[in-house]
Amino acid sequence: MSNQQRSLLNSVWDLFCSLKLTVFSLIALAATSIIGTVLQQNLDRKQYLSVFSEDTYNLLNKLQFFDMYHSWWFIGLLVLFCINLICCSIKRFPRVWHMVHCPNVTPSEQFLKSFSNVEEKLVAGDVKSISAKMATFLADNFTAATAYEKDGSTYLYAEKTKYARFGVYITHLSILVIFLGAIIGNIYGFKGYVNIPEGGSIDRIWLRNVQTPLPIGFEVRCEDFSVSFYGESQRPKEFRSVLSIVDQGELKVDHRPIVVNDPLSYKGLTFYQSSYGPAGDGQVVIKVKVRGEDKSDAFTLERGGVMALPGGDKVRLADFTPTFRNFGPAARLEVVSATGDKKVVTVFKNFANFDEERNGKYIFTLVDFQQMYYTGLQVTKDPGVWVVWLGCAMLVLGCMVAFFMSHRRLWVVINEQKGKVGVRLVGSAHRNQPAFELYFDELKNKFLDALSKD
């Protein structure tokens, strides 16, 4: 490799290791992300053409603005961001690792001079007893120190929370872990949906943009679906499906209710309550009583269904509706006598005594209106999601360590100087200098106190 090539390579490496690139890629990601929030994503061509001209549409489409979070340039920015992050870490991590595991316990004069938190004193006595005194001082006020000898000087070294230096790298790694989780989810996972009518079951689901259904290897049955509202209002309170799962003829999950925010997981697939709708026609339960008698009968009818009455007449369910004006569920019945006479009767669920006043031969009551529903389930499989959560935990933990913990080091250097003993206290913190300065000022006083004591 020629020198020129090497220097080019070096400058590329330096570029990828630079904080300027970090700031640039973060701001570029922030700025470009705005596009997809202003421009609705993944609509149909037709919908875009109602807003944009053909030319504008083609241009924006070519730039992948309509699915920008998956465009080559956005992914490219994310990759650039990751490369930068990896390079920065590769460049700096070994030095930090070394600093944590092989601390500079007998630093040079030049190294010590680079710190601003220093206190020095010349005292009478011998090195040995003063070293012992200083060891107690550090143990009492900071943490236990280790003693080293070098070139006639005694060095006491003590440190706290040295692993705080790894906070930044945990944070950086966490972002890569989150991306890894997202990639795993994209490759090995899928998102689908399925509608199951009450009482029905399915063993395959539909994926988005795929024409053929995907068999899931077991059977999901919807035992029941219900929707409830707050009081008489239209504000929904709960959407609830009761599901059972049959796997190879064996009942694995029996009548498990699922609601929004409480899904069902089975064999890596998770079923979420997502929508619902009416399935087929409803049924009504009618109670009938012959006037003057105590006994009453109840029966269930579908639209057009006919039932024999105790007196030899018949009743037919002509029509019904879940809401008749503001009166709630209502049904229209046709009473057909043995001679063929027809009489129409309307009954309301919310007004049980309505038919009583008709003074007819029979008193009908609409006991219940039952509408069959289908439940709409979102079905997902995402084996990467735990990796994402791991990354998230690392991110928060890493941030906390990086922001709120600091690696603090103290050295006490003791040596003979012209018949006396020179004692020097040097301190350093790897972050939050102002707080450490305050701490060190206090420590200085204790240091001088300890030295003057016998």
């Binding site: 904080l19 300027k20 970090t22 700031v23 973060l26 701001i27 990601l29 922030a30 992300s33 705005i34 997809g36 929030t37 202003v38 609705q40 994503q41 979070y69 997202a182 998102k191 707050y230 009081g231 504000r235 929904p236 309170k237 709960e238 959407f239 609601v259 929004v260 925010n261 899904p263 998770t270 979420y272 309550q273 997502s274 979102q378 079905v379 997902t380 995402d382 999601v385 994402v388 959560w389 998230c392 991110l395 928060v396 941030c399 906390m400 922001f403 709120f404 102002p434």
Partner: protein, 284 residues
């Protein structure tokens, strides 16, 4: 007394505190500053009680099972102003920079005024999508983060005013109202500290939101405008944190980035709901 009436007193308290803090800048009277702090503290105490009372009130609605009062725009704006005061009080205790109040209280006062005058304060029981403990975790972490950014923004504005004054060679000891501002170095440091508090909280807010989305819909990330904007805010403050350790980016540029960050935060919080379509329609 209902929570709504108490919130009116809170609004008045924050207004008084704001005016007194500004008065402090003009008069430099410690007494005025103390009065301002008392107003802010009392307002905060009353607001804490009122939020608790509203929580209790949610249980009194027929058919409702009660909920933490953070579920609609009104409740979230009230909670936002509460968190601003919380973060402000923490920073006030720790750093005792009285003049900062004049630049932070206005955010809390504006939020309360808007909520009390313009927003619908009906207590409505939760729709199924919001019935989750994640709602509480998500809202608390997000808004504590937002509040920290609000404080950082206030401090950054002070920084820019201070630095401009110094650049103009205005070093007269009186120095007008800027004279009692903390030094540029302290302001820069406060800005950084506030963002240091806000950033992990915002991260937690995004994560709890993702966890909730995954629990409710089976996707932790769908590039919905609200999600994307929260990520934009995250990118901006991540840029801030890295810019600050880069030579030439501390000080003025960092302050500007902090203000841009807060504008993005406010857009994420309100702009997305009011201007863009998406999942976070506050149940309406």
């Amino acid at each position: 007394m209902s929570s709504g009436q108490l919130f009116n007193f809170v609004t008045i308290g924050y207004f008084a505190a704001m005016i007194l803090f500004i008065g402090f800048l003009a008069t430099r009277s410690i007494l005025v500053a103390k009065l301002a702090s008392y107003c802010a503290y009392i307002g905060f105490a009353v607001q804490t009680y009122a939020i608790g009372l509203r929580w209790y009130e949610t249980y009194q609605i027929p058919g409702s099972e009660g909920y933490a009062p953070m579920s609609n725009l009104y409740e979230s704006v009230v909670f936002f102003s509460w968190t601003i005061l919380l973060i402000y009080i923490l920073i006030d205790w720790k750093y005792k920079q009285r003049s900062v109040g004049a630049f932070v209280l206005p955010f809390a006062f504006l939020a309360m005024t808007w909520a009390q005058l313009r927003l619908d304060d009906t207590i409505a029981p939760l729709v199924p999508a919001l019935q989750s403990n994640w709602l509480t975790y998500h809202v608390i972490t997000c808004f504590l983060g937002y509040a920290a950014f609000a404080v950082a923004c206030g401090v950054s504005i002070m920084y820019l005013i201070k630095v401009r004054k110094e650049d103009n060679g205005d070093t007269s000891p009186a120095g007008g109202i800027v004279g009692i501002f903390p030094s540029a170095k302290i302001l820069d440091d406060l800005n950084y500290k506030a963002i240091m508090i806000g950033f992990p909280l915002l991260s937690l807010g995004i994560i709890t939101g993702a966890a909730w989305a995954n629990y409710a819909w089976g996707t932790y990330w769908s590039w919905d405008p609200k999600e994307t904007w929260s990520l934009i805010v995250w990118f901006i403050y991540a840029a801030f944190l890295h810019a600050r350790i880069t030579r030439g980016w501390a000080g003025r540029k960092a302050a500007i980035l902090s203000i841009i960050g807060f504008i993005a935060t406010i857009f994420c919080y309100l702009g997305v709901n009011l201007l863009l379509a998406g999942l976070h329609s506050y149940g309406s």
